[in-house]
Symmetry: C2
């Protein structure tokens, strides 16, 4: 099949050769020879088959962004980057692929979703699966023990795409992480503040940030009688509780994963606990079994501290301590969290329903140590914002509102009402460009004024600078405001200033 494509391409090239020869009225013998060659190539390919076989698409699970989509995407990025910078983050970048072994053993059951590159000689490479493992590799490689950084880039997962719901195989992650040895829960609380700021800023409707701690989960598993070796896999089961009911999760634990029914029931009692965070934390701290477990106690103590800080930040209203939150990835060691958008409440729905996760993160104190030759640890906590789902929502909203989004920032179109003024238009636009004005000109020798004005209407250009014989004589340019059709003559030397003034508040 690829060979087929190669041949089909060769046919197209040969067809172009023939076309050119004909166009150039070349030697008829020469043309005949090349035509014969073309026909032979086509025949070998099986008639026109090669042409039809060629599929014009992007790879499965990926998409292009049109200018309009890019305009929405840039709004989202601006909101996110502003927030990251407001919190004093630096920015880094890493390659799109890593050595295969860098990713090995970091993602547990999800490793099968990693994209590998073909072995073309040299190193074995894989596309990055997230930005966290490359970050940990970067810290270990450069012996950095203290940094607050953000990183916005695409990651790759050979998952089943569900593009209408914003699930892609190539998608952006916007990560903010704090690495370093600090007093407990201060950076952790800042990560939650950041999620709160971004989701508020983007005005996506109501949201909820669920919080839990891997230490509480592990402690809970221990006191419920889950064997150590099953911690991670039972954790994966618990993680499904936001999508499937408890009975089904219990079935998986007992049936597929061989957990004892007693242990499963015991877990069920815990993960179905609800309540106001302070009350729930206190209740668990007094739980006769859980309070005896070191890890759980540590986790619960830190959770209490976390909520104290979140109260100071004034954001506890949208944060919920949720024992059923588990998170899929292997590398978390402490606090974990996930933000979900809630469907707009209406009369028919009693409780707001989650429409999916848009951010997640947590503490991973062991990951950097996995890269350090001496196992030296760098404690880290971070958050990852997934923009695809957010972007889907905003895109739908723009479609629905019929809001007109400009995809360029052009301030002025340089136009002429008469013929033979291309040179004058080019001279004027060069002056404007050199003065930093965003300007366009139609690529026609003699465009009609109507077409030039229509172009402004279509693309939202607010001003037209019109040159004409009389204006040239008078040393002026006619400046037209597209919206009002107002026209004023402006002295050429004042034109730049006039355009700046009229477009300074777009």
């Amino acid at each position: 099949e690829p060979a087929m494509a190669e041949e089909a391409a060769a046919v197209r090239v040969q067809a172009e050769v023939v076309r050119r020869l004909k166009h150039d009225k070349a030697d008829p013998d020469e043309i005949a020879k090349e035509v014969a060659k073309l026909l032979e190539m086509k025949a070998q390919l099986g008639g026109d088959e090669g042409k039809h076989k060629f599929v014009l698409k992007t790879p499965k699970g990926t998409r292009d962004y049109s200018p309009k989509q890019m305009a929405i995407r840039e709004r989202v990025f601006n909101a996110i980057i502003s927030c990251f910078k407001r919190h004093g983050a630096e920015v880094i970048d890493t390659p799109v692929f890593e050595l295969k072994e860098t990713l090995t053993g970091k993602y547990g059951e999800d490793s099968k979703l990693i994209y590998d590159l073909k072995d073309q000689g040299g190193e074995l490479l894989s596309l990055r699966y997230d930005l966290t493992v490359p970050f940990a590799r970067y810290l270990a490689m450069n012996k950095i023990t203290n940094i607050k950084r953000y990183h916005i880039a695409k990651v790759y997962r050979r998952d089943n795409p569900a593009m209408t719901r914003g699930r892609y195989r190539e998608f952006y992650q916007c990560d903010f992480d704090i690495a370093g040895q600090f007093d407990p829960m201060i950076p952790d609380a800042e990560c939650l503040k950041i999620v709160h700021e971004i989701l508020s800023d983007l005005q996506l409707g109501d949201f909820l940030i669920k919080v839990n701690d891997r230490r509480i989960l592990d402690g809970m598993f221990a006191v419920c009688g889950v064997p150590d070796s099953k911690f991670r896999t039972i954790c994966s089961s618990v993680d499904k509780l936001d999508k499937v009911p408890w009975e089904e999760v219990r079935g998986e634990m007992v049936g597929e994963k061989g957990l004892s029914p007693e242990a499963a029931n015991h877990i069920g009692e815990y993960v179905q606990l609800h309540g106001e965070h302070c009350g729930l934390i206190e209740r668990l701290l007094q739980d006769p079994k859980l309070s005896q477990n070191k890890l759980a106690k540590e986790g619960l103590g830190d959770m209490k501290l976390l909520f104290e800080y979140l109260t100071l930040f004034g954001i506890t209203g949208k944060i919920s301590f949720d024992l059923s939150l588990a998170r899929g990835l292997d590398y978390y060691t402490g606090v974990i969290f996930e933000a979900v958008l809630l469907q707009q409440e209406n009369e028919h729905v009693e409780e707001p329903v989650s429409v999916g996760s848009v951010a997640g993160g947590g503490r991973y104190d062991g990951l950097v140590g996995m890269f350090d030759p001496k196992g030296r640890k760098v404690p880290c906590v971070g958050v990852s914002i997934g923009i695809e789902r957010i972007f889907s929502i905003l895109e739908q909203r723009v479609e629905a509102s019929e809001e007109k989004i400009r995809t360029t920032e052009t301030q002025v179109l340089v136009a002429s009402a008469q013929k033979k003024l291309l040179e004058e238009r080019l001279k004027l636009i060069a002056e404007l460009w050199d003065a930093g004005i965003k300007a366009e000109v139609l690529y026609k020798k003699n465009p009609k004024l109507l077409n030039q004005l229509q172009y402004c209407e279509d693309t939202g250009i607010p001003l037209v600078a019109i040159v004409g014989e009389q204006e040239l004589k008078d040393g002026v340019v006619k400046l037209r405001v597209v919206a009002t059709r107002e026209e004023v003559n402006v002295r050429r030397e004042s034109l730049v200033e006039e355009i700046r003034m009229r477009t300074s508040h777009p």
Copy 2:
């Protein structure tokens, strides 16, 4: 070897399990069991061998960007994006990989440098090699016949890297293209104006933009007696003339590529022609042989028109018509160009020497048609700026100048002089964040004031907002200017405004 890495990772995970059990003072039997398992795993791996085998690096030909490097990179991007927007371009994005067949047959001899992905079931994929072919695929797929867009993204080539000279396997291209049927040479001239603006704006020293036309080259090959089938390969030889002397190129043409010595000599006469552009164009238009060739005549006529427009733009001083410019890629059909930086002239060097290409482009009127099922063409012309070399130069310059580059934009550090004020610091910083102020706080319960001030010195934070018992009572915050050590008490409700005022002109 990858299996080895997998096992080494498993050992590290197991070591972590043991560490945690010990830390938790778990059941000694449990610990013993896990330690035994760890030792067994280590033994299988051959002692510590696995650990030493693990290489901490980025893949060959790639690199990370540190925050400092990112700051320089963002300056370059800003200059380039400003210019593209000044010229009214929209922006698009495409996936990092394409269907393998999308790239097939587009790059001639360079195709061997394409990165393929491993066949993991499903479509065969390749990493993009440039942004031009994905752009053409995008146009054909969406039936777009008219667009002016830019696209800034990484591309991938399995070339021999020379990283000190800014040649990487993963590198950015910044592309600006104009697609559509327009009057001749107006968009082409704008592309050259853009290169001129960007290279001037970045202040990289003197530069030269070489211009030629594929039609002139092909016409020249024809009148020199090069067979049609050898056009592209002889073109590749000519393209080497900026690196190797004519004699060597001639040798390749005659020796390797089987061209007749007469034809080669004839080409040599043309490509070694020099002179002021108008004079050279006229001379070639009157060349008895070349003027008889349709293609060459067309190309020369357009070249003349191009220089008329470039004169109107006032940029001919840095543009040179150069018959030896050929460009490597297959898809060009008309004007081609390439910008090179010139070494600073000094007394010891008579002529400025080229230190390498930083931008290139041209017209490719056939590429979109190769993707269209009916072969419908969309004429295109575009330019690609390569930032790696530019970035290397600027990075070296920053190193040399010892200029201090800030990697964050933080306006104020929220600090305290006394102990037990963490809560007050967190309350204040949340107020500042919510008001849009860029603020940081040290993640310590009781940091020393000196350490807080030192942090500002190190990272360039200009202001410190100090809370203390007395200030809290008085309803003020002490604002300290780091540079001058000046301190003023500001009423808490005026703090945001005061910080904004003092940092509005950084």
